[in-house]
């Protein structure tokens, strides 16, 4: 087992780190002090993050420094500016932000403040998924402690920089994790994503310039500021820098959140960290980054984990939430569950997504329950192509179409067998109780 330098989860492993005293003892808020007292300008912070090669950890993997630099010039645009932290972590398989918020809430607050300083925002909104009660409470308590210690609010650490941090609880809608849906929800409206352009940096929250960042993304900022862009850029592969949090779940012996540098192979994580596939079985298929990514076959497990190599395999790194499935898994059933999730979570604005997610879910349900029709596979394929890419306001439609297309491509024979035999050969025994609804 190779050892790698870690930093993201180091403090999280210390008992009591969610409290300010422990956090400070472990070196917390040093980066904020360096920024505010060391005389770094916002432009210098943006530049530092740009050079570090940090990419967003919310799924799209866009350059963070670049995103910050899209905010309009403060001298020319008098509107207030906002930073929204996307903590509405609800992608199936993804649970990395939860660990950070529960065990290192001050790290998030510090990261948010540095990001807010860089984009010169006067307020930060942390939008937490409604079901995340402990993470919400821990971050809320951290903000209170920080405010008492003059780390949040007016004249932070005696500097000219003032910034408020607010918490906002979602109500359990996946679509509010989409950045424009999140902004609508924060404004008190239904979480219906907005058409882009205008992009949030031009017109976001309350028609003002806004940056929306993932929890893990801003969590990286203090380390970059403290240790320097060069240090960060030295870790990882050509286009994916630094360490990332990988949540591995499914049919593995030790599921969990692990910190690794970009460039490790999926096999290393599966075997060294997660203890291999459970019950001594073989890996049949896996999602590399949450259920919105294209499925990969078990044979692809030696792929290097970074944005480029997964794209080359026709999938994507997403939020690095790997879901592992063993050889006893029925793909018809997997896709039924996934399609039902997207049907349940579609906001219903766009025709393709509202009707398409339902349609996919109905077809996969029939296939998995022995009522498949001869034309189902063709229909699935053409529906998924009609739903993506870029045919709708947001990417939820794509998120339902991409795994569908990959399942049809990789596991066509299995699906056809389900249809031909009018039963699922790999079906698990029926559950003892009936499941109602999607949750």
């Amino acid at each position: 087992m190779k050892a790698y330098e870690t930093y993201l989860l180091d403090r999280a492993k210390v008992e009591g780190n969610h409290q300010l005293a422990t956090y400070r003892r472990l070196g917390g808020y040093k980066a904020l002090e360096k920024v505010l007292k060391g005389g770094l300008t916002p432009a210098q912070v943006v530049d530092e993050v740009k050079r570090s090669g940090l990419r967003g950890r919310g799924g799209a993997g866009f350059s963070t420094g670049m995103k910050w630099s899209f905010m309009p010039d403060v001298a020319k645009d008098p509107r207030p500016r906002y930073l929204a932290i996307n903590a509405d972590e609800s992608e199936p398989g993804t649970c990395k932000d939860r660990v950070l918020m529960e065990r290192d809430p001050h790290g998030l607050v510090e990261g948010s403040l540095i990001a807010a300083y860089a984009i010169q925002a006067k307020a930060v909104y942390i939008y937490v998924r409604g079901e995340y009660r402990l993470p919400h409470d821990r971050v809320a308590a951290a903000i209170q402690e920080a405010r008492a210690a003059q780390l949040v609010g007016q004249h932070i650490l005696g500097s000219d920089f003032s910034c408020e941090v607010f918490m906002h609880k979602g109500a359990g809608a996946y679509i509010c994790g989409e950045e424009t849906g999140l902004m609508e929800s924060l404004e008190g409206k239904r979480g219906h994503p907005r058409q882009k352009p205008p992009f949030p940096a031009q017109s976001g929250l309350w028609n003002s310039p806004t940056t929306v960042n993932n929890v893990e993304t801003v969590f990286n900022a203090p380390f970059i500021v403290e240790r320097g862009a060069a240090w960060h850029a030295a870790i990882g592969t050509a286009n994916s820098k630094g360490n990332f949090l990988c949540g591995i779940s499914g049919h593995v012996n030790r599921p969990g959140v692990y910190e690794l540098p970009f460039g490790v192979t999926a096999r290393e994580i599966l075997e060294d960290k997660a203890g291999g596939v459970w019950k001594g079985r073989q890996l049949k298929a896996w999602f590399p980054g949450g259920s919105s990514c294209a499925l990969l076959k078990g044979a692809d497990i030696d792929v290097v984990l970074d944005h480029d190599s997964l794209r080359a395999r026709g999938s994507s790194l997403g939020t690095a939430a790997m879901i592992m499935m063993d050889d006893q898994t029925s793909m018809a059933r997997v896709m039924e569950v996934i399609a039902r999730f997207y049907e349940h979570e579609s906001c219903g604005q766009c025709s393709q997504c509202r009707e398409g997610t339902q349609w996919l879910s109905q077809i996969f349900h029939r296939i998995a329950h022995g009522r498949g029709q001869a034309d189902d596979i063709d229909t699935l394929e053409s529906l998924a192509k009609g739903m993506a890419p870029g045919k709708t306001i947001c990417a939820l439609s794509d998120a339902a179409a991409i795994p569908t297309l990959s399942a049809v491509r990789l596991f066509k024979d299995e699906l056809i067998a389900c249809i031909r035999e009018q039963r699922d050969p790999l079906a698990a025994p029926a559950p003892k109780y009936a499941t109602v609804g999607a949750h």
Binding site: I175, C350, C353, T357, G386
Partner: protein
């Protein structure tokens, strides 16, 4: 303005307006459900996809309602890619649509039906049952909602938010379970509810008053003007095969009413359809009113006016400019005085369209030099006169039917009315056509002229007031002769 190319034609486009508007302005048909020129675009139905090329980049398919025209943009609405994308989108829209066109009031003027005929597949691919939802949900006194037919374009939601600026509808629940609803199922309120039935691109929102009344292809449609207030909204009068009026609908006119009209005007066709019309002419013989040839009644009017100096001609404010002019000439010829009835303002006045002034042609009559007076004043003046002529639709109603009935026998009262007149002073009455049976012009509060259309034939023996006045002029000697 920027120059763009639409289907090979170079046209001017307003860069602040969506691309779909530039297409429509240049007679290029792009289907639309969520987009409406009078509402903000949301780009949710995705049916208006067209192919757009900018510079050297390969063509992309975009929604025309959320794309701004830019200089040099090349738009192809008919490219194979655009067609394919729209066809896919249409299939999704039809996935749960009940296709109950044979019993749907919208059939024949339904955007979804039209576009399906044009572009859709003959065969659906879905094996699933369609989404069962509520078929007849009352949304108050005006509107009934069929949730199954709804394609969730949200035009109705945006209408209440943006036009009367009082949000009443919303999309509730998520995804394929979404439905249009009011807060806590409260009934809709306000004077503008009917508009959402016009806005609805499918048959989800229908007017209770129009439900199962007519198949729309049997309706004869004529451009006309609403006469219920001085706004004079441009409307379309729709009669069932030229008989009863079934519907008034707003006609887009950005100068006057935009795309909307109020419910007060929309449902005012009961007047127009009312039975018990005054047909032909009746004259007093002894104590009885008896049917006489119209010519005779007109002669009686002429004789009475000629014999008296100082008669009084009272117009209804519903009289058109043409009728006003003819009546003014008649009054001048016989040195009679002239005025129109000006009823008090109504409580329906609002910020949007309704002016609260019930006189549709006040401005037109004032421009002719005719002044308005209250009903009480005019009946008092009539009571003091020897000869009185009251003319025009609803003139008795506006003067006060009680006061007209009690006019003294010393007055010789002549009437041109749609309905029989009850008055002790009445000597002769002649039936006239109402506002959906005659042509003419009314001038609205802002001085904009609106046409009235003869959308349906008048009852047997009933002619327009203008026609009677022409005959009367022919029957009258020239003024010089009369003076001599």
């Amino acid at each position: 303005m920027v120059k763009i190319t639409v289907n090979g034609r170079v046209v001017d486009a307003d860069p602040t307006k969506p691309l779909i508007k530039a297409c429509h302005d240049n007679d290029v048909d792009v289907p639309m459900y969520c987009y409406h020129p009078g509402l903000s675009p949301v780009g949710s139905c995705r049916i208006c996809q067209v192919e757009v090329k900018q510079g050297e980049a390969p063509g992309r398919v975009v929604v025309a309602c959320r794309t701004q025209p830019a200089e040099g943009m090349v738009v192809d609405t008919e490219s194979p890619k655009a067609h394919a994308t729209r066809r896919e989108c249409l299939e999704f829209l039809l996935k749960n649509h009940p296709l109950d066109c044979p019993i749907c009031d919208k059939a024949g003027e339904c955007d979804l039906q039209d576009f399906t005929y044009e572009e859709g597949q003959a065969q659906g691919r879905s094996h699933e049952p369609r989404r069962p939802l509520e078929k007849r949900k009352s949304l108050g006194e005006v509107i009934v909602l069929d949730e199954e037919r709804c394609i969730l374009c949200s035009r109705c939601v945006r209408f209440f938010e943006e036009v009367p600026k009082k949000a009443q509808l919303t999309v509730s629940d998520l995804g394929s379970r979404s439905v249009i609803s009011t807060f806590m199922d409260r009934p809709l309120s306000g004077n503008y509810q009917g508009n959402i039935a016009d806005l609805c691109p499918v048959g989800a929102l229908t007017l209770k008053k129009f439900r199962f009344q007519a198949r729309v292809w049997n309706l004869v449609k004529m451009a006309s003007t609403c006469v219920e207030c001085s706004r004079g909204c441009s409307i379309q009068v729709e009669t069932l095969r030229g008989s009863d009026v079934k519907r008034f609908r707003p006609r887009p006119n950005e100068q006057v009413n935009g795309w909307w009209m109020c419910d007060h005007g929309r449902f005012a066709f009961d007047h127009a359809n009312a039975a018990g019309r005054l047909e032909g002419a009746r004259m007093l013989e002894g104590t009885q009113l008896v049917q006489t040839p119209i010519e005779e009644a007109l002669c009686a009017v002429r004789d009475a006016l000629m014999g008296s100096k100082g008669g009084l001609v009272v117009l209804s404010p519903f009289c058109t400019v043409e009728e006003g002019r003819a009546l003014r000439e008649l009054a001048q010829r016989h040195q009679a005085e002239i005025a129109y009835v000006s009823p008090p303002p109504s409580a329906l006045k609002d910020e949007l369209l309704h002016t609260g002034d019930p006189c549709p042609n006040r401005r037109g009559l004032e421009e002719l030099g005719i002044r308005g007076e209250a009903g009480e004043t005019l009946t008092a003046r009539l009571a003091a006169a020897k000869v009185g002529l009251i003319a025009g639709e609803r003139v008795v109603e506006l003067l006060g039917p009680e006061r007209v009935r009690e006019l003294p026998g010393t007055l010789a009262l002549f009437a041109f009315e749609c309905h029989p007149v009850a008055s002790r002073a009445l000597r002769a009455e002649v039936g006239i056509a109402n506002h959906v049976e005659r042509t003419g012009t009314v001038v609205n509060v802002d001085g904009i002229r609106g046409p009235l259309a003869a959308a349906k034939p008048a009852p047997r023996g009933v002619r327009a007031l203008e026609r009677h006045l022409q005959d009367l002029a022919r029957l009258s000697p020239r003024r010089e002769t009369a003076v001599r």
